[in-house]
Every structure is written in structure tokens, then in C-alpha cells.
Symmetry: C2
Subunit: 370 residues, 2 copies
Amino acid sequence: MASPASTPMIRPGGTLGIVGGGQLGRMIALAAADYGLKVHIYAPDADSPAFDVAHAHTLAPYDDAAALAAFADACDVVTYEFENIPHATAAVLAEHAILRPSATALLTTQDRLSEKDFVASLGIPTAPYRAVDSAEDLVRALDALGRPAVLKTRRFGYDGKGQRMIREGDDAAALLAEFKGVPCILEGFVPFEREISVVAARGPDGAFAAYDPCANEHRDHILAFTRVPAPGLTRATGDAAVAIARAIAEALDYVGVFAVEMFEIAGPEGAARLVVNEIAPRVHNSGHWTSEGALTSQFAQTVRAVCGWPLGDTGRTGGMAVEMENLIGAQADAWAELLAEPGAHLHLYGKAESRPGRKMGHVTRLKPLG
Amino acid sequence: MASPASTPMIRPGGTLGIVGGGQLGRMIALAAADYGLKVHIYAPDADSPAFDVAHAHTLAPYDDAAALAAFADACDVVTYEFENIPHATAAVLAEHAILRPSATALLTTQDRLSEKDFVASLGIPTAPYRAVDSAEDLVRALDALGRPAVLKTRRFGYDGKGQRMIREGDDAAALLAEFKGVPCILEGFVPFEREISVVAARGPDGAFAAYDPCANEHRDHILAFTRVPAPGLTRATGDAAVAIARAIAEALDYVGVFAVEMFEIAGPEGAARLVVNEIAPRVHNSGHWTSEGALTSQFAQTVRAVCGWPLGDTGRTGGMAVEMENLIGAQADAWAELLAEPGAHLHLYGKAESRPGRKMGHVTRLKPLG
């Protein structure tokens, strides 16, 4: 654990750098501003939503070492809103600024194979998996894991992109060929009861604070609803999920907010089993409910953690039940109805263009515990 | 009342203009961003805190007609964070954009004399007052109202600036001379029990929504604490206060958020009497508690009102009691302790320089109803 002397607090008035200009960066920027920080966004897209709410931005590609160095030099601490940051990029950032979470956390979690190797090394269950670098690898992996199984690219996947289910009778080699030779992983299919996630934070002093585990419901491979408390999740299983998240954070000496997605598998005689699906080294869509539903939002918590400030209270607002609904593509066209809905809290991301499958906003609803 | 056809809703993705770059503009900008709006700030100071969170800003004096016109042309609707906007400025803005609240609301409330004349014309009590444009006026006014009385400049006063108490034995003419000939008003001293304020909103369709009346405690003429529910305020007096605020808003055909400060004066046999002290045609410091303490913050409510959207729920979060404490000058140096205080919500305004008497931030605390 780092000593207090090595982890100075960033002062209000200082500058928080955020790599990535999407809605997650935007919401972190809003939280940082509310704490009196300046925000500097680094992103390669001119119409990045986060640019609109930042003191400064750098519009440059992720492999522009000079721009990265100048950006990091201008920041007191740098964080990121997505994990697909090239290692060389992270190395430049870490050389010129405090990078939180660390480059190690990025490296470990941006590749499905190294992520699963890491989780397995902690004695925490994952779905069974095999590396797949060739058609021969895939044949062997399918022999070992059976069908159905899920073929995924090791990197750059999100919202179901970069993955294919391989069922009985499917031409596995043809599915693999769609990924054009990029390194893949085959994961055994897990017949889960529910998908939950734990969003939590760890500070540079080792302080840890988790939000209540939430249940996630996907449609078309995109998160549609998050519900807290997770319906049907027992206290014991929820506690076990948080313990898994904490073990992962400690093993990575993690600093910041992160999410661990897990599958809950029904066991014999009601005993449930958890397997880790994915780690996100950043704020997570399944934590959006915290903006109204928790005493500290995951965005404010990110700022607290990476600045070396005390972590905020992760309790639920008034002990209420919370539902977060994503607004995908044209769903956001209902903004006027959502503004008029009693008790609904609307968030829109300011994206210039609505496209099918694109996350345009979300809405949070708080209800008395049922 | 304007017809629906004449009050189109501003769409997310549209641009909200805000005149003024201080913390109020900054907090409105943050709320607007959360609704997917772009924000354009107009202010004459290069280090305006609101610039840091806005899509665009115009750095120009308030009498630069060309800059004002270009700014308003770039906005779908324009609002403001302070009332001391010259009439010519408001006229240019209203010519080039929808200005909400209106120039009439500005004109009426930015001058203590016209404000009091307006309130009195509605049959709503104010402190007794007289216009003072000369030493002779002041003699007559003191004869009529007695001592103590409060001499105030008609315009540009805030946080106790531009006002002097005239007590027995004071050299009234000398006190008047300090104001160097600007138009003044003398107000009879009101021996009030408590100062309360009503923060409320009215939409272009006439919809009205008030927050619970709050009690304000000042130190050195600057708001120090706001408490909701207002301790000791009866339901009947609170309802009367809201009715006064509503009557004022309707008489002005007001669109936006506003605050009405009132004094509660104890009457015979427990009957309380309210007199209006001041109207602020904008979000107000005594409404800062709404960010965590109400279901819709006064900043979000401003955006809803001026965009022609449905007003949000003004109920208190979980029915809790709320206390807002201003952080004045060096008080904000305690930010690290406040971040560590359980249940405290810290807001800092990102001001470059801390000065005695300058509002640097505030903290909100929610507690179970006592």
C-alpha cells in the first residue's frame, strides 16, 4: 500500500485529465467541475461530447506522443473513460503525469485473455476459456469447451461487438474468419440466472467502497436496464460479489472506480455460484443509477479516488430502489415525455447524431423498496 | 398567458445562452449539459468560472451591442444569472433571441424602488420606503420612517454592499454622501422574527412550482445558512409565502426560476405577517440546497422553465431536512475535511482567487426530519 506521503491530494483548482471524450468522460467532467477542478479532455474526435463541458481539450490521435506528453504535462492527474488505450499511450501518460488507474490495470483488463488469466490466478472463477489464434486452436477449444460457446476478440469489444455465439451446426471457422485474424478467445457458455455487477472504488491509500450490487438486463447485447437492489440476489451472494471485486482491486493495487460484471449460476440446493465475466477499469454504464440513487455518484467517486480524496458514501439515497434505463438510438426521441414523467431523472449526452444501437442518454427512477 | 404555439420547446442539442459567468451561471451550465444542451456564456471577465464548463463563451463587455447580438443569434434561448443587466443590453438580447425571464422582469427587479412599487401595487406588504435622491429627501424620509432605517442604493446592491443602517445619532447626510449621488431608497427597519425565501419556477405555459420555503441566516450581511423546512415556520405562513411568490410571478408573466426574500414579523396572538424584502429574477443562493435536497435542482428547473419544458418535481429528497452552508473566503480551505465529513455534499465554484467575503463554494447536509 502506498504511503500517504507518496499520494498527495490534488487540490481544487487543479486539473484532471480525462482520456476519451464520450459520455463517461463528460459525466466525470461534470462531477469534477462541481468540485472546483478544471478538466482537460484528450480525444481524437472533433465532436466528442465531453469537449463541451471541459476547460480545455486536446484533439489528437491516441498515438501522438507529443500531444499526449503536452496534455499530461498540463494535468495534475490523468484518468480515462475507456480501456482500449494502447500501451504506448499509457506509458507516455504515466511518464508525464500521475495516471490513475495505472497502466497495469489497463493492460490487464483491455485483453480478455490476460484479464481471465489474472482473475483465475486469484482463484476466482471465470467461464472456461481458451486462447484462439488460428482455426486449429478453435477446433481444439470447441472440443474442450463444447457448444454453445462464445467466440470473442481479445480486444476492442463492447456492447456485443466483437463476439459471436457458436452453436451446434454453425461453421465455426467461418465465424472466426469474420474477425480477420485478430487474436480471439473462446469462452464456454455459462447458463446464468442473472448478470450482476459490482461498481466500486479504491483510493491510493487502499480505502475501498462498493455500491450495492446491481442486476443488469440486456437487449440486443446492449445494457437496457440496471436495477438496485438486484431482484432475487441474496445478501450472501451480494456480499460474495463485493468480496470478489475487492480482491481484484487489491491485486491490481487499483486506484479509481471500476466495475466487475459477474454471472450468477444457480447451484444445487439453492447455493449460487458467481463467475467473473469482465472487469471495466472505469465508471460503468451499470453504475449510472448512482447519480440520483446513491449519496455519491460513480462520477464524483472517480474524482475522489483519482485525486486521492476520501471516498464518498456509497449508500442508496433514502434507501430507495433504483432502476436505470438506457436510451438507445431513437429511444431518446421520447425526451419530452421523459421530462414530464413524475420521478424520472433524464440525462442526455449531447451527441450530435442518433444512430441505432448508440447510447444517447439514460433515465433513472427511484421507487420505495418493494 | 402565451399560447403553446408561441412557446416552442427548445430541443436537446440546442444552445442555452447565459449572461453572466459566475457560480450561478456555472451551475446552470452543468445542469443544462446533463440535459444534452450546449451552453454559451456571455461575460466580461476572462476568468469567469462558468467559461470552464461551457461549449462556447463570449468575452465582451455588457454594452457591446455587436457582441451581444452575435451571442444571442447563436442561442435558442437566453437567460441570465444576475439582475444588474443594463436595459439596453436586455433589449438587444430580446431582439435577437428568446430572453427568459423577460426584460420587464429585469427592469422591475433590478431597481429597489421599482421593485417595491411593483410589489406594493399587488397589495403585498413591503417595508415602508421612500425614494432618496438628495439630502433633503433623506431628511423627509427619516422624519416619516423614523430610526433605525436602512439606506440602500437603488441598484447594484448584493451581500450587504450598497446599504447602511442609520441609527439614532448617526450623521445621515454623511452616510448618504458615501453613495456619491447615486439614486437611493430609505427603508423603515423591520424587526423580523426570521428571514425566509421562496424559490419557485414558472413556465411559459403558466405552470408554477415552488420549493418548500427556507429559513436564511446571515453573517456579516452574507447568507451563511439556509435550512429547509424553515425551523418554526408554520404551515399557514409557509403557504402564504408561496402564494405571494406566485402572485408576483403571475403579475410579471414570469418565465424561469426566481426567489422572493421575505421577513416574517410576529403579530399579536401568534399571527405572523410577511413583508417582501427582495425579488431575485434568477436562481438564488438560498436555493442551493435543492441540488441534493430536492428531486429537481433549481438549476435543472431553470433549464426546464426557460426551454419551455415541463417543470420538475420540487419535493424534498426522501422528505429529509436540509441545511446549506456557504463557504465564504477561507472557509473553503476546509475542503478536505468537508470531503471526509459523512453525509456532506461539497460544491466548489472553481474561482481562481479566494478573498474575504467571496463565495467560494457551499456544502449541503441532509438529515432525517427532527
